[in-house]
């Protein structure tokens, strides 16, 4: 066995950003949202991620602005801590240890030094019963503080953060669970409970979904499962409470929010329409439709200028002045399962998988950013639960990335399967895929596998699809037969079958000269040129699960895995079994750039990874217990730049990277230690500071600072060429200003240190001489100089920068002189 000391499995991007309500900062410039184990700070104007607040060791369950300091934010996590951050700088300030997993966090300006968290009942941690706990934050200078003063406020609350809210400046807290609304008044220390009937007459469901409280008046808005919104008033009396009902949503209201001034109520749900109700004039509503997918949370900026909705497709939309979508922050869309394989787009090198219903997403792995969604189905998506819609189930790219094939299916009833095979051509002009051919009902039953011929030099592109109807079909691009002005389109070239068995897998050899199709336990090998059945290979007794040709020097090998825990390797030159080993391989994968193959083996609840070459059955690398559960999707993605690792165990990662999806839809990858270090270093260097406003102070100080850093960089760069200059600059830069000698004294030394090349000096001297010569000439030259002045300043070279400064300095002196001369 080969050791795997320095190769680790890490999360690589694509975490959820829609799990909790996002928070907009006081100045509306940043957006904070919980994303996996960290809090992400996005700029609301540029959609860029500014900071990653890392520190939690479990999923972050809530983010909240510190009500007493608007530049700080609390975050709570299932790791039983609450952390305080400075989000503008991305600095971790403090950790409060609660001792229980926290599922939500609340705070109010009226309760200083207290935060309210929802934890499981104190007596047993694993129970499903939650309570609201007030935590008095101890005043301490330490980084790590244990919060001991816990006092239960409301017991038996919902763990859903939307089901609770502070009202009227923190006078009361309203919490809903099941069919009860509970209001706790802090002054009276009293709880009122308002129950609703199980079901009203029309069969609607009354269960509370979310709660929002008016900040100025005594009013609580609650959203219900049947789409109704109830506005509760006069609830400070147990008996005389009233409520009015608003109804627009056709399915459950998932989020409610009052604007800070309390003039509007926002609601959203599955319909993906943001509804804006006028407070006290509820018949007037504004709609913002077509937000893409179901709204899960709504947040409003403290000044009420920005709304922000998070959606079920891992997206946050920022809405400006309540009518216009100004920014969309989109994460990797992950449904319950990935129907398509993971693929890499050969052009953009992005990861491709199905995302939003009926769409394919192109996700950049390097930048951890969704590039774009391609609408495959091209049908209006109806936001209604329980509706069977078209879904993308298969996709394939050809070797050059100029063709893509997709299969969409809709299976409303068992008997009726609607299938469409679509072929997309890459359009150079628009840089996206354009629909070329739609084949409706390409097969009579579900398509099991699909692959393009990967030979790069072949004249015609060929696609093979296998289906449960017992046939496999080859599709080929053919020129238009008639003269209507349409380009080439795809048509069926060959239909093959083998003893009426069901084909499961198909695979082209690297040069495209062979096609292997597995029919249950038999592998048939066909010649695509003449469509002759060349040979059959078989390894009974179980059906073939995966089929894969070797690459490069191993292209004579065909590998297959069977359901009976067997990995076989056939040699196609001798048409015989080369080797086989007993392994329960759940996924077999070939690296397109090297000879390596990866096999994920499901074994006793976990998955092991083996990397090997088909020519020898000894693994190059193996990793035990990569993750829990089965790995069914994985992909080798090419690296942008090769790694130079010479260790045997990590050489397979040099040219491409292996990504895989776990059972819980986490995207993981393998990294080496060296790579991680490099990544960390690069992230430290790249501090994006694009969102800092251009105040006069910044202009003054920022420029100065930039120069300084550039100086430092240049000095470090030129240190080996002119060692004496670095010393001078260092001295100049490191000495405090008040102990420095006068500038005129330093100047000559400084200039001396900068005289590097001969040409530069001459030019400098010439300029100087010119200026000395005569005043009039100097006036002219000055005017000439003026426009050319910004150029050297812009240049990144620090030497020229300082030179320009010097020149300016001298000119000022000259001007001074001329001015006094004029006086005289």
């Amino acid at each position: 066995m080969v050791g795997h000391g320095d190769i680790r499995v890490v999360h690589r991007g694509g975490s959820k950003i829609n799990s909790r309500q996002p928070v907009i900062t006081q100045d509306s410039r940043f957006l904070l949202c919980a994303s996996g184990e960290c809090v992400k700070v996005f700029s609301t104007s540029t959609e860029e991620c500014v900071h990653d607040l890392r520190g939690h060791t479990d999923a972050v369950t809530g983010v909240l602005l510190n009500p007493s300091n608007h530049l700080q934010a609390y975050s709570c996590s299932a790791d039983a801590t609450v952390r305080l951050w400075d989000f503008t700088e991305g600095i971790h300030i403090k950790t409060y240890v609660i001792g229980y997993p926290v599922s939500c966090i609340y705070a109010s300006a009226h309760h200083e030094g207290v935060i309210f968290v929802v934890t499981p009942m104190l007596n047993d941690k694993r129970s499903e019963v939650f309570q609201l706990v007030a935590v008095h934050l101890p005043q301490s200078g330490d980084q790590l503080v244990e919060a001991l003063e816990l006092s239960a406020v409301v017991s038996d609350v919902s763990s859903n953060p939307a089901a609770m809210g502070f009202g009227k400046g923190g006078e009361f807290i309203a919490s809903a669970k099941g069919l009860h609304l509970e209001v706790f008044f802090f002054k009276k220390q009293k709880t009122y409970r308002f129950p609703l009937k199980e079901d009203n007459k029309k069969g609607g469901k009354n269960t509370f979904m979310c709660v929002a409280c008016h900040q100025k008046e005594d009013c609580i808005a609650t959203g219900h499962e049947d789409g109704k919104i109830r506005l509760w008033r006069n609830f400070s009396h147990k008996k005389e409470y009233t409520y009015s009902t608003l109804h627009w949503h056709h399915s459950a209201v998932s989020s409610l929010c009052f604007t800070p001034e309390g003039t509007n109520l926002l609601s959203g749900g599955l319909e993906s329409v943001l509804v804006q109700w006028r407070y006290n004039q509820e018949s007037q509503r504004d709609f913002l439709p077509r937000l893409g997918s179901a709204i899960t949370h709504i947040a409003v900026s403290p000044d009420g200028a920005l709304f922000c909705t998070s959606h079920s497709d891992n997206k946050i939309t920022i809405i400006q002045s309540s009518v216009k979508v100004s920014a969309v922050i989109q994460g990797l869309v992950k449904g319950e399962s990935v129907r398509t394989d993971l693929m890499v787009d050969p052009r953009s090198k992005s990861l491709v998988l199905n995302g939003k219903p009926g769409q394919l997403q192109f996700y950049s792995l390097q930048r951890d950013k969704l590039l774009y969604n391609l609408d495959i189905v091209q049908q209006e998506y109806i936001h209604e639960s329980g509706l069977e819609q078209f879904e993308v189930v298969k996709a394939a790219f050809d070797a050059s990335g100029s063709w893509m094939a997709t299969v969409e299916e809709r299976n409303e009833k068992a008997a009726e399967l609607e299938l469409n095979l679509k072929l997309w051509a890459f359009d150079e002009q628009t840089q996206s895929f354009v629909l070329n051919t739609t084949i409706s009902t390409p097969h009579e039953a579900r398509i099991t596998d699909m692959c393009f011929c990967h030979a790069a030099d072949s004249q015609t592109t060929m696609l093979v699809s296998t289906s449960k109807d017992g046939h496999f079909k080859a599709w080929q691009l053919s020129a238009a037969a008639h003269t209507e002005d349409e380009g080439p389109s795809w048509s069926c070239d060959f239909v093959g079958a083998y003893h009426s068995l069901v084909p499961e897998r198909c695979c082209f050899s690297a040069d495209g000269s062979l096609l292997a199709v597995s029919f249950q336990e038999v592998v048939t090998v066909w010649g695509p040129a003449s469509w002759e059945l060349l040979t059959t290979l078989s390894q009974p007794p179980q059906a073939i699960r995966d089929l894969c040709f070797g690459r490069l020097s191993c292209s004579k090998y065909l590998l297959g895995t069977t359901a009976s825990k067997l990995l076989c390797c056939w040699n196609l030159l001798t048409c015989s079994l080369e080797w086989s080993t007993a392994m329960d391989v759940s996924l077999l994968l070939a690296d397109p750039l090297t000879e390596n193959m990866a096999a994920f083996c499901f074994h006793a609840g976990g998955t092991d990874l083996f990397v090997f070459q088909p020519s020898e059955p000894r693994p190059l690398f193996s990793h035990k217990a990569v993750c829990l559960g089965k790995v069914t999707r994985a992909i080798f993605s090419p690296r942008e730049e090769m790694l130079e690792s010479c260790e045997e165990s990590s050489q397979w990662l040099n040219r491409s990277q292996l990504h895989f999806l776990t059972q819980y839809m986490d995207l993981m990858t393998f990294t080496t230690e060296a790579e991680e270090e490099r990544l960390l270093a690069s992230s430290r260097q790249l501090v994006v500071d694009d969102s800092v406003a251009m105040t006069p102070f910044y202009l003054l100080l920022g420029k100065h600072r930039r120069q300084e850093t550039e100086d430092a960089v240049s000095s470090s760069l030129s240190s080996d060429t002119v060692p004496q200059s670095s010393a001078a600059i260092k001295q100049l830069l490191q000495t405090p200003a008040h102990v420095m000698p006068s500038t005129s004294y330093l100047c000559s030394m400084f200039v001396q240190s900068l005289l590097i090349s001969v040409t530069d000096t001459r030019e400098e001297n010439k300029h100087a001489e010119e200026k000395m010569d005569s005043e009039r000439e100097e006036e002219d030259s000055e005017e000439e100089m003026e426009p050319s002045d910004p150029r050297p300043q812009q240049a990144s070279d620090a030497c020229s920068l300082t030179k320009a400064q010097l020149r300016e300095l001298r000119r000022v002196r000259n001007q001074d002189h001329s001015w006094s001369a004029g006086f005289l």
Binding site: G292, H482, T483, G496, H499
Partner: protein, 528 residues
């Protein structure tokens, strides 16, 4: 913010022939002009000089028509019996014609009486042509001989007695003054050289030869006889090049298009077929009312003239540019050019800034209703008379979309007698169409479910339901028959194909889509 995506209307491949460049070219003729002659029209010949009059030989007359005249500009009637093969000389001045009474007559195109009479044949002369030196005439006759005549003094120069049956066609070379070819009912074509006294080449056509045609280069010879059209390579010693069998009755006439790229053949089966001369595939087809005896194309393909057995001469003129302009003139009821360029040619100044206006999306009526979730109204708009009759695919697409949204039942319910009758009418018209069956069968099931309680209340609806039932029963019978036929065919294919090593079904090269439709739609229909 995504915009509304309109309903996808499935585009079905157009049935029937595909539009090619040839179809466009050969369709670009005006409606035919019919001229009644006195008898079956056996020959049509165009004058080689402008204005390209043509001589039509029919019964005992030869009429000469101008290119656009409906009446003959000239007629030769001095024949004792049926005239044959009126042909112009290459200068268009003289015309020669054979006759049933074995006399060959030569006419001046401007005169009326025959200039010369060539007597010598003993039976009807069906072939007469000028040799390319313009002073000799070639004739072929039913007395199995073909002769050369001297034009100035009307003497016979030579007689060739090689054929053993009637000579019914012949053509003289236009490049060589000594060569001519005759075709006979003895199935042979013979190439004669006037410098020697016998044929220099003999080709066997296999059927009585009816017509001959030389290519302009005279390297290829086309012969028609029986149902076959054969092309011979004269430069390779009369080697057969292609044999075409596209007619199902005797081919009577041959003709080349002006470019030499297309070959036309006319037959007694009332068709004129156009072949591509590079691959000899039929690229176009004309239908006529009666069996065709003769065919000619004007220079530059300006008109197609066809003579038929029912003594009707059909003349089709090519549409001129003015005509096509007229059509485009009709199309120009659209907004003026300046409406389109309005503001487009504005050159922005330096400090202008662009206010972008969202592009208004145009939606079809039914899409507008669908956008508002008005399902019943959407279906109503899709069922409007014009759409229902002309574009049933739109109606079906809307139904499919409603079904996908799960609201088809709501849209179908709550209709009065008239609306329901309209709906049922549409179903009866289209439910057996294999393109629409999957959607309409679902809709039909829903209609029956919804309106089960009102059956018997309206005679109109009841009648339509009965019609629907009949239609479905008939369709099921058809499907059963089809399946039987397919079964028979399968056994035939299986037995006729040689046993291959590769055990894949015989029909595996077929697309499989067309065959599949019939099978898949059947159980759905039974379910109703």
């Amino acid at each position: 913010m995504a915009s509304f995506k309109p309903t996808k209307v499935q585009v079905y491949p157009k049935l029937g022939e595909k539009v090619t460049q040839d179809t466009l070219y050969w369709k670009n003729y005006k409606a035919p002009l019919h001229i009644k002659e006195f008898g079956a029209i056996t020959n049509i010949d165009f004058s080689p000089v402008a204005p390209h009059n043509f001589a039509v030989t029919a019964f005992t007359r030869i009429h000469i028509y101008g290119p656009f005249s409906q009446e003959p500009v000239k007629s030769f009637t001095r024949f004792k019996d049926t005239a044959y093969c009126g042909r112009f000389r290459s200068d268009g001045q003289l015309l020669v014609a054979g006759c049933e009474d074995s006399v060959v007559r030569l006419f001046d195109v401007s005169g009326k009486v025959a200039l010369r009479m060539f007597k010598g044949h003993t039976k009807a002369v069906h072939v007469a042509d000028f040799i390319s030196d313009r002073y000799q005439i070639l004739t072929g006759s039913d007395d199995y001989t073909c002769r050369l005549w001297d034009l100035p003094n009307a003497t016979e120069l030579n007689t060739y007695q090689e054929h053993t049956d009637y000579i019914r066609c012949g053509v003289a070379s236009k490049l060589n003054r000594d060569l001519f070819i005759t075709g006979s009912y003895d199935h042979t074509l013979k190439l004669f050289d006037a410098r020697v006294d016998k044929s220099v080449m003999t080709m066997d056509h296999g059927q009585p030869v009816e017509s001959l045609l030389l290519y302009p280069s005279e390297g290829l010879l086309v012969s028609a006889g029986g149902r076959n059209v054969k092309v011979w390579d004269l430069l390779k010693g009369g080697q057969p090049l292609v044999s075409l069998k596209n007619h199902h009755k005797t081919v009577t006439s041959l003709c080349l298009s002006s470019s030499g790229q297309r070959l036309l053949s006319a037959s007694l089966d009332r068709h004129v077929k156009v072949y591509n001369t590079t691959n000899y595939k039929v690229v176009h087809n004309f239908d006529y009312a009666a069996s065709i005896l003769s065919l000619a194309l004007a220079p530059d393909d300006e008109s197609i003239v066809v003579g038929m057995t029912n003594s009707i001469l059909s003349v089709k003129h090519r549409k001129s540019l003015e005509d096509s302009k007229e059509i485009s003139g009709q199309q120009r009821r659209r907004p003026l050019y300046r409406v389109f360029v309005k503001g487009k040619n504005h050159v922005p100044k330096q400090d202008d800034y662009l206010v972008s206006k969202p592009v208004k999306q145009h939606l079809a009526k039914y899409d507008k209703q669908l956008k508002k979730f008005n399902v019943t109204k959407a279906l109503d708009t899709a069922l409007e008379t014009w759409t229902r009759h002309r574009k049933p695919e739109i109606t079906v697409a809307v139904m499919k979309e409603l079904d996908r949204r799960g609201t088809l039942k709501n849209a179908l319910a709550g209709r009065d007698e008239q609306a329901l009758a309209r709906l049922l009418n549409f179903l009866i018209g289209n439910v057996v169409d294999p393109r629409f069956a999957p959607v309409l069968v679902t809709a039909a099931e829903m209609i029956l479910d919804i309106y089960r309680s009102v059956i018997g209340q309206s005679p109109v609806v009841d009648r339509q339901l009965l019609r629907l039932q009949e239609l479905l029963e008939k369709e099921i019978d058809y499907q059963q028959d089809l399946l039987e036929v397919m079964g028979m065919l399968d056994t035939m294919f299986a037995s006729s194909f040689p046993r291959m090593e590769v055990p894949c079904p015989g029909i595996s090269r077929a697309n499989g889509l067309a065959g599949g439709d019939g099978i898949t739609s059947r159980p759905q229909i039974q379910a109703t």
